[in-house]
Structures are given as structure tokens and as C-alpha cells.
Symmetry: C2
Subunit: 433 residues, 2 copies
């Protein structure tokens, strides 16, 4: 940010944030996830010179805001945004709930991870790209966005249906599996070597980190706490209340931020993606929700920071070179939809064809997770600019079509939804998954 | 941030935030404002090399974290933090309340602004410093920190006493006057010229900006809204409810952030301090609290961002060169306490000597506002490094002693406080004023 005045930086933040929020609001007005609008705002800003040239005008917002001089501030804001976003997703994924979900959800999740991953991997390898890039594309096709699916179900007032419970459960397991796949892929990309021993070693490190943190943060600590609480309450009542009150006065937000940033750094230091640490920190904190509630506190922080991540994603898309990869983007999108639908549908077949149809369709949206994977690949120079645009296109497309498909599938089984006209349009900060 | 990896930046943010929160928590444990602990953390980090050298050790945290390479990220985080902090202070200052406070509070505020300002100005000019620096020191001695005073009163459970109402009212008017003084001083410093016509012109611009924003944001808009509401509700009931519900769905936080950043940029563009715009934006929003409540949303955002401002303040203090200005710092501190006490006490004399004593003492703490003024002076090269340290010392000292003085003054009038042992120790994020 050398040479750029703090006044200019204020203007950059103001304009980018305003455009992202406007884009998000417009999308929500027409019933699409606000994420799409925020990415679109980023694409518009960085490509404004190119777009205005098409209609014969000379106007470049990116240049006008001096954004071409230095983007490092927005890289940091974007990183903080995605770290806090993944923490918030983790917060909604208590490990104890995960165990209750049952076999069907697990089967749905596992099949829905394996099929897209290998389909993507095979296609990209078949097109003659490198192994690392193929691994990243495969990984980007894996993870379903829990947020978007959950929101559609909530809007339709169908959270208590059996399909909805399986979808949410599977999406959560799918998230954890996606993180493990990502950990392995990043490890391989960072390792650089292609030897099979290296791959095994790196995979083992990634899986070990994830399992270790889950084991301590989500199993050992909560159990230790329960035992300690149990011991303390029995013998003398008054002093217990006193001790408890004092403990409660440690406010949860700073603690959550410190643990989140700490595990993010630890993951990054161990050669994994920082967001894996953030996600696991969130999962651990989810077990302590009653003692340290902090989901409400992360809502406004994320309302401010997360748009910078999606803006940054949009600003990494180069429309001028997009024409070359349009066909590939279409193929990958179709592949992403079909493999997820078939994989998850197969896993849910024993619930009947109607339910399998709903569940298959419900797991289609990739949303932010696929993009996050591709962003990491781009930053490690493992994914090309063109391939990055392909993943952004796939994520946006699956996210846009999923709500329509899901509404259709639910109506097909349950008939016209009586609550259809109740579907509210929420605007602004409540929208991030 | 060139050449520093995102991993190192994560570590910087993690370590600085953790130290600030630890410092803040420690201070609150012993009953001092957490602000002091956060500044102290910054002082420790930047002076760790010097301090460890004193005990013969070689350890420099500042260098270890690569903070010496580039501080621009923390400059931006600090600026965002102070902008949002002043917005939150403005949120607690609705203009409509200001008008109700009455003559005593106004007199207390005005006398409590004039005396310290001219005392500081005269002293610094008398010591042979430049006019601009003297103006900044005068301005830094003006503003009482509403937050700290209000918190002490709240802790003593005396919010309904007549003195408390006058103190809070006067502190609010004092804030507005402080902003006007700051606007004028910054204008003069930016103008550079010393001609009397320039000073008048620049003062006029500053005052005009403040009054214009207050007039539109806090008087015209709320009235227009009331009239519009009045008109709309009468004729047809059902559709009104519908229209209202829709309007409410615009979530207040993004709007507040955009207005806050927008007015901050406008103030900065007009040659004033950005925080003046933020404060006025908060004041305007305070009038719409029922429609767009956002104070709760700014609490967590500020819990994350504001510590970076106080850290940054601490990191601007050079202990090695502090020995030279220690005497001056002590003189300025005594002057700041005495002038504020006398000025405000005189303004409140008609309430009786006991009450005047309380009110004079209650207005003493300068807290963050004096430091903010000095930071702006430092960034404009109008205030020297040594003089900046003097102001930080004065702000910290007045803030530390004020609660003790205030407790003494209240007890002197009201006798032993029955609720003394109820004074709670809040920790963590709830602490920022």
C-alpha cells in the first residue's frame, strides 16, 4: 500500500463494499444467493475497463480507484473474511450432532464426494493438464455449500422433512470430507514431488491434523468439561455458583477470535490451508455454545469482512480471457451437477425414488467452498487463471440453478407448497451462510 | 506488505490481538479501563527490544514478527477501528437528547473546553514550540471521554443522580465541541498558512461541515421521516404495514457501514479528520435507532477492530526517548486535570459545592479522544514524536486516576456507597466505550 494515502484506501473500501452489498441485495431481491451478487460486483470492478470498451467508452473503475497499484490490503481482508466465514460454518457443525446423523447421510455424503472428485480429476487429466491442477479441480467439485441448501429448505418451511434432515446431515459430513480432501491436495501441491510415498505422507499429515484437532477440540475437551462440571456442582452449592459466574465473565468473542486465528495459523504452518484450522476451531467451539455463545457476534463481523472475500474472488476473474474456456466451463458444470446428483441419489435410494431425487438435487450447489479451493490453488500457482474462472463459473451456476431444481423436486413429491408465498426475502448481512 | 507472506500477517494479527486483549483483561481485573491495557500492549511490543536490553536480554518481538518491514496493514486496521469507534460514540449521542440537557450542562461543557484548550495552547507556545503543535496539544486536552466517565457512574449505580445527568450531558456536548475544535485545528494545520484570514476561512469550513451534517442528518431527515410516517399511517392500514415490513428488511448494518465510511471519506476529502465524519454519521443514525438499530452489531465489529487502534497508539510511543519529556508530561497532566476540574466545577457551581466537586472530577478523564487528536497531529507531522508521547501519557494518567477521584467525590457527598461491592468487573469486548 506504499504511496497510496489512507484517504484513497477509505474510498476503495467504501466503493467496493457498497458495490458488493448492492450486488448482493439485487440478487436476493430476485431470489438468488447474495454471494453471486458479491462475486459479480468483483468481476465488474476488475473488468470495467474491458466491458466499457465493448460499448466504446473509456472508463476503468479498477484503475480509477488505484486498485492496480496494490491489492495486498484486500488480500488480507479477504483472507480474514474467509477464515471467519469458515469458523462460522464450523460453529454450525458440532461434532456431537454429526455422530447422530446416521448411515444414510454418511452414505450420501461419501458417494457424493467420490463421484465428483474422480470425475473432475479424470476429465482434467484426460485433457492433458498437470496432476496437481487436476487434483485441485477434483477437490473444488467436492464440497456442497451447506448454507445455500439450508436456506432454500428454510425458505420453503420444510426443515422437518426426512429429506431435509438427510441433506443437512450429509452436507455437514461432506464439508468435513471436503476439508480432508483439500488438506491432502494442498499438501501434495506444496510438496511438489510426485512420488507415491510423498503423497501418502502428505495425506497422512493432513488427515492426522484434522483428526487430532477434532479428537481434542470436539471430543476430549467437551468430555473433560462435563466431568469437571459434574464434580464441581455436587459438594458445596454457593461457592460453585460464584466460581461459575466468574468464569462466564470471560467474554467469548475475543477467545473465539484468538482460537480461530491460532488454529488457522497452525494449519497454515503445518502446510495445510488456513481455513481448515478455522473450520475445526469453529467445530470445537460449537461444543461449547452454551458456555461461550458467539455465533451472534460473528454475524456482524462477517457481514463486514466476508464480502471482501467474494469481491476478491470476482476480481480474480478475467473476462477477456474467459471466451477460451467457456466450453470447458459448461462441461465441468454439467459434470458437477450430474455426478453429485447421481452419487447422492444412489446413497439415498433406500428412502424411495422421490426422496432420492430431492436429496440428489439438494446437494448440487457448490457455493463458496469450491471457489475457496480454487482460490488456494490459484495462490499456490497450481491452478491456471483460466481454470480458476472455470471453477468460479461452475460454483456460481450450480448455486443459481440449485434452488429452482430443489423447489421442483420438493413440489414433485409433496405437491404445491402451501407456504410458497411466505418465502421471505431477507436482505443484507443475514444472508451469508 | 510486499514480501511478507499471508502466513506471517496471520501471525502478526494473532499475536497483537492476543496481547491487546490480555492487557485489556488484566487492567479490567484491577478496575482500570481496558483501553490502558491495550495501549500498554502496543508500547511493550514496539519497545520490547529496548526493554529486554535493559535487563541484558536480546529479544525484540517487533522485529521477530517482521513488523518493522511494513506497518501499513495495521495503519489501515487502526483507522477502520477508530472510525467505527467514533461512529459507535456518535450512536450514543442523539442530537434530540442533546437539546434536552439544559443550560448547566452546556455551561459546564463550554468552560471545560475553553480552559484546557487555552492553557495547553499557552503553555506549548510559551515553551517556544510552533503554533500548529500548540493548537494540537490544546485540542488534545479538550475532549472528555464519555465512555470512561459513564462506566464509572454505572459501576457505582448512580446513573440517576443529578450530577451524573449533568456529567453525561456535558460530556456529550464536550464531544461535539471537541470535534469542532479538531476540525478547525486540522484545517489550520493542512492549510499551512498562518494568516488570520486563512484561519477564519478554515474554521468556517470546519464548523460549516459539522453544522451542515448535523442539520441534515439529525434534524431535517428525522423530521421528514416523522412527517412521512404520519402521512402514511392514516389513510389505509393494511398496505402501510406491508410497505413498512418491506422497508424494514433493508438490514441496518451494511447501510450504517456505508454511511459511516461515506461521511468519513467526505470529511477527509473536505480537509477534516475522517473520524469527524464517522462521529456525525453515528449521531445521525442515533435518530433512527428505532428503525435501523445497529449498536449491537457494532459491538463485536469494534471488539475485533478497535484494539488495533490502541495497539497502534502504543506502538507510536518510543520509550527510549521518553525520559526527555517526562517533566513536561507531568506538567501537562496536572494542567489537564486542574483546568478541566476548575472549568467544569465553575460551570456547575449553582448546584452547590459538593455537586460541583463531583462534576469537575467526573469530566477529567480524556481517554481515547485526546490520543486520537494527537495521532492525527503525528500523522500530519504537526506534532513531534516526543509531544505525542506526552499526550498519550496525559490521556492514560487522567483515565487511570479519574475513577478513584470520582469514587472519592461521590462518597464525600453521598457517604459510603451501599452498592460499592456490587461494582462488577466486565471483561473483554464489552469494555470499549
Amino acid at each position: 500500500m506504499d504511496g497510496i494515502s489512507i484517504e484513497t484506501i477509505l474510498l476503495q473500501i467504501l466503493v467496493l463494499f457498497t458495490l458488493a452489498k448492492l450486488g448482493g441485495m439485487l440478487c436476493e431481491r430476485v431470489g438468488i444467493s447474495s454471494v453471486i451478487g458479491e462475486i459479480a460486483a468483483g468481476i465488474l470492478v476488475v473488468n470495467s475497463g474491458f466491458l466499457f470498451q465493448l460499448i466504446g467508452l473509456n472508463f476503468d473503475l479498477f484503475h480509477l480507484l488505484s486498485l492496480d497499484a496494490d491489492m495486498s490490503l484486500f488480500e488480507v481482508l479477504s483472507e480474514l473474511g474467509v477464515i471467519f466465514l469458515l469458523f462460522a460454518v464450523g460453529l454450525e457443525t458440532p461434532f456431537s450432532e454429526l455422530r447422530k446423523v446416521g448411515r444414510t447421510a454418511t452414505l450420501v455424503a461419501v458417494l457424493g464426494v467420490i463421484l465428483p472428485f474422480f470425475a473432475g480429476l479424470t476429465l482434467i487429466l484426460g485433457l492433458g493438464h498437470g496432476q496437481t491442477e487436476a487434483l485441485f479441480i477434483g477437490a473444488a467439485m467436492v464440497a456442497t455449500s451447506v448454507g445455500i441448501t439450508a436456506r432454500v429448505i428454510k425458505d420453503m418451511d420444510l426443515t422437518r422433512s426426512i429429506e431435509s434432515r438427510v441433506i443437512i446431515g450429509a452436507a455437514v459430513i461432506d464439508d468435513v470430507l471436503g476439508m480432508i480432501v483439500l488438506a491432502v491436495v494442498v499438501g501434495i501441491a506444496a510438496g511438489g514431488s510426485n512420488g507415491i510415498i510423498d503423497i501418502v505422507l502428505v495425506s497422512a499429515t493432513g488427515i492426522a491434523f484434522v483428526l487430532l484437532v477434532i479428537f481434542f477440540g470436539s471430543i476430549v475437551l467437551p468430555k473433560a468439561r462435563k466431568r469437571a462440571n459434574g464434580k464441581r456442582i455436587e459438594p458445596f452449592d454457593d461457592s460453585t455458583v460464584c466460581v461459575r459466574k466468574r468464569k462466564f465473565s470471560i467474554s467469548p468473542l475475543p477467545l473465539a477470535i484468538i482460537v480461530c486465528l491460532g488454529l488457522s495459523f497452525a494449519a497454515s504452518y503445518a502446510g495445510l490451508a488456513a481455513i481448515i484450522g478455522a473450520f475445526l476451531a469453529g467445530m470445537a467451539f460449537a461444543e461449547f455454545k452454551d458456555k461461550w455463545p458467539c455465533d451472534e457476534d460473528f454475524r456482524p463481523i462477517n457481514a463486514f469482512l466476508v464480502p471482501f472475500f467474494f469481491l476478491f474472488v470476482g476480481m480474480s476473474v478475467d473476462l477477456a480471457s474467459f471466451g477460451n474456456v467457456l466450453v470447458l466451463a459448461a462441461i465441468i458444470t454439467v459434470l458437477a451437477v450430474v455426478t453429485k446428483y447421481v452419487g447422492c441419489g444412489m446413497g439415498a435410494l433406500k428412502l424411495g425414488r422421490g426422496s432420492a431425487n430431492i436429496i440428489g438435487v439438494g446437494m448440487v450447489p457448490r457455493g463458496e467452498v469450491g471457489i475457496i479451493v480454487a482460490t488456494i490453488g490459484l495462490s499456490m500457482n497450481a491452478v491456471s487463471q483460466g481454470m480458476f474462472s472455470v471453477v468460479v463459473f461452475m460454483s456460481m451456476a450450480t448455486t443459481i440453478i440449485a434452488p429452482f431444481l430443489l423447489t421442483w423436486a420438493f413440489r414433485r413429491k409433496y405437491g404445491e407448497c402451501s407456504n410458497g408465498d411466505q418465502a421471505e426475502v431477507h436482505m443484507g448481512e443475514a444472508s451469508h451462510p
